[in-house]
């Protein structure tokens, strides 16, 4: 099966030829399939944001290529622009980019730029607002909303373009636990309803572990692991050396093994509860 998006031997250097030359990406290759939820982790400066900006043609690789449905997004002058409608990018702190008078207008900005008809735009705005739960505020000014609500409006603006690949750079940074939970739920709803591919950059190992089916680990501009959460978090020591971490529950289970309990590795609270409950002999209160 042809992957939806393919990153092929991409290399990118900032300020090439100056004393500040910095190789941000070195020979990076991987594929994204339809409907996948992929997590991206790496320390500050590992190349995550540079990589994300390559996926929808905001940056052009120095060498290598980005293929969408097998065709280079740099094939001709218009293909990168077209790719941006299919690959949506939500930046860090996207609420700083809200600018319209009403929530409705702000969400409608993207679909309008795509040249869609008014009734189609209306449909998409309402659908996107529904997914992120801001339907009640459509006529409000985005600046009257709380931080978490603003963030969700900003995400809805990208969802309304109905991208096949949705990229989010730290979508939950600065939000409280409930706000985090809600945004993550919205993202998963979008993925399930559109069979969309999600690429989420996050510093929260527990969010990544719990939601994704596959994790890319970046270190110094290279992909060092591309595997399931189970396999990736097996490399606890290497991850710590790279300035990363493993989920707290995974640490608890490593300690349980050290204490002599024969438990498999786990990556989320749900998994942990299920595993321990089995060991204990099922629901006593159920």
């Amino acid at each position: 099966m042809l992957p939806l998006l393919e990153v092929k031997n991409v290399t990118y250097t900032y300020s090439a030829g100056t004393p500040f030359e910095h190789k941000a990406l070195q020979d990076v290759s991987f594929c994204l399939n339809r409907g996948e939820f992929v997590g991206v982790i790496g320390h500050t400066g590992s190349g995550k944001s540079t990589l994300m900006q390559h996926l929808n043609g905001l940056l052009k690789p120095n060498s290598g290529d980005i293929l969408l449905d097998g065709k280079s997004i740099w094939a001709d002058k218009t293909s990168a622009r077209k790719a941006r409608f299919r690959v949506g990018l939500v930046f860090q702190y996207p609420e700083y980019q809200l600018f319209e008078e009403t929530v409705y207008k702000d969400i409608a900005f993207g679909p309008k730029n795509m040249g869609l008809k008014d009734d189609e735009i209306d449909l998409r705005v309402k659908k996107a607002a529904e997914i992120v739960g801001v339907s009640d505020f459509l006529e409000k000014s985005p600046f009257d909303l709380s931080g978490g609500q603003k963030r969700r409006v900003a995400i809805a603006g990208v969802l309304a373009m109905e991208p096949e690949v949705l990229i989010l750079d730290e979508p939950t940074a600065g939000l409280d636990p409930e706000g985090r939970e809600e945004i993550l739920k919205n993202i998963e709803t979008y993925r399930a309803s559109q069979n969309a591919t999600i690429v989420m950059v996050s510093h929260s190992m527990s969010d990544i572990a719990r939601l994704t089916q596959r994790i890319l680990v970046l270190d110094d501009g290279r992909v060092v692991y591309d595997d399931t959460p189970a396999k990736v978090f097996d490399h606890a020591e290497q991850l710590l050396k790279m300035g990363l971490d493993i989920p707290e529950v995974t640490k608890v289970f490593l300690k349980l093994r050290q204490l002599g309990l024969d438990v498999p590795p786990v990556y989320s609270i749900d998994q942990a509860v299920e595993t321990l409950n089995k060991i204990r002999g099922g629901d006593r209160h159920a």
Partner: protein
């Protein structure tokens, strides 16, 4: 009761919030937004207090009252005994209490690390040789001395945030207020900043007020204050506060993952205490429950 009163008079307060009322003024006749109706909070000198609460509960508004960036609409805020509403106190308050914000990029002003750290003491009118000494000591304190001649914009987020903290330490404050200092940092950067904060409190006796959404970070403090809807909803040691898992959930918050795990297991019929704040304690508690 007598003992309690005695204790209160003996401990010096870094910050004392008394009956604080604060309203963000409305625009063009619209009513303002009331953040605090009547808030009381005391932070003892030398303590390490974490303030947590959902978005919009007033954490940052409160923090800005701690060094007179914001002034009360009603009630009083005393910083090291100085009334923040008295104009002459503003400068002494800001010398005594430094602020560190979320985004390190917004706090760095110079092109060289040591110049950035020197900015604060220079503004205080400290003599040159003394500035040199303060800058070197502050950079050593945050573990960034080796980078003193580097350009801040080429450092990592955690390093930049430590430079911002060094800039505050060089002003030799008695208290540091940090408003989500790790929100933009990777796990390593977070570890670096948290170690630095803990060391400032333990080794130098600086009062630390840490505002955070990360409960694992709040668990490092001596005391956790939970704000909800402009009021203090919970106040106690990390153990006392985080064991109230249901109350925390009700406020849109969570306890650290280790406590959450024990809580979830208890719903399945386990009988674990909800005070495991680190992975060792948590693993031991589970092990004991399964093997006894």
């Amino acid at each position: 009761m007598d003992a309690l009163i005695l204790e209160e008079t003996q401990v010096k307060m870094a910050i004392s919030v008394e009956n604080l009322k604060f309203i963000y003024p409305g625009v063009d006749d619209t009513p303002g937004i009331t953040v605090f109706e009547s808030l009381d909070l005391k932070v003892a000198e030398g303590s390490f207090v974490a303030i947590v609460g959902s978005n919009g509960c007033g954490k940052s508004t409160l923090a800005k009252h701690f060094n007179a960036i914001m002034l009360p609409t009603g009630g009083k805020v005393y910083v090291h005994g100085m009334d923040s509403s008295v104009e002459e106190n503003m400068i002494p308050i800001r010398r005594s209490t430094g602020m560190v914000f979320q985004n390190p990029d917004n706090q760095i002003v110079a092109n060289v690390v040591e110049e950035d750290v020197a900015f604060g003491p220079e503004n205080l009118g400290v003599a040159s040789p003394a500035i040199r000494k303060r800058v070197d000591e502050a950079l050593k304190q945050v573990g960034m001395y080796a980078y003193r001649e580097h350009a801040p914009h080429l450092l990592s987020g955690g390093q930049k945030q430590r430079i911002a903290i060094a800039g505050i330490i060089a002003m030799e404050p008695k208290c540091i207020v940090l408003d989500e200092p790790t929100a933009m940092l990777d796990p390593q950067g977070r570890r670096e900043v948290l170690q630095t904060i803990s060391a400032l409190n333990k080794d130098k006796g600086i009062t630390v007020v840490l505002i955070t959404h990360h409960m694992e970070e709040a668990a490092l403090a001596d005391r956790v204050v939970v704000l909800s809807k402009g009021k203090v909803a919970l106040d106690g040691t990390p153990r006392e506060v985080f064991s109230q898992v249901d109350l925390m959930h009700g406020m849109g918050l969570a306890s650290p993952d280790t406590v959450e795990l024990c809580h979830a297991l208890n719903q399945k019929g386990f009988d674990l205490s909800l005070d495991s704040l680190n992975t060792e304690q948590c693993a031991q508690a589970i092990y004991d429950a399964l093997t006894c």
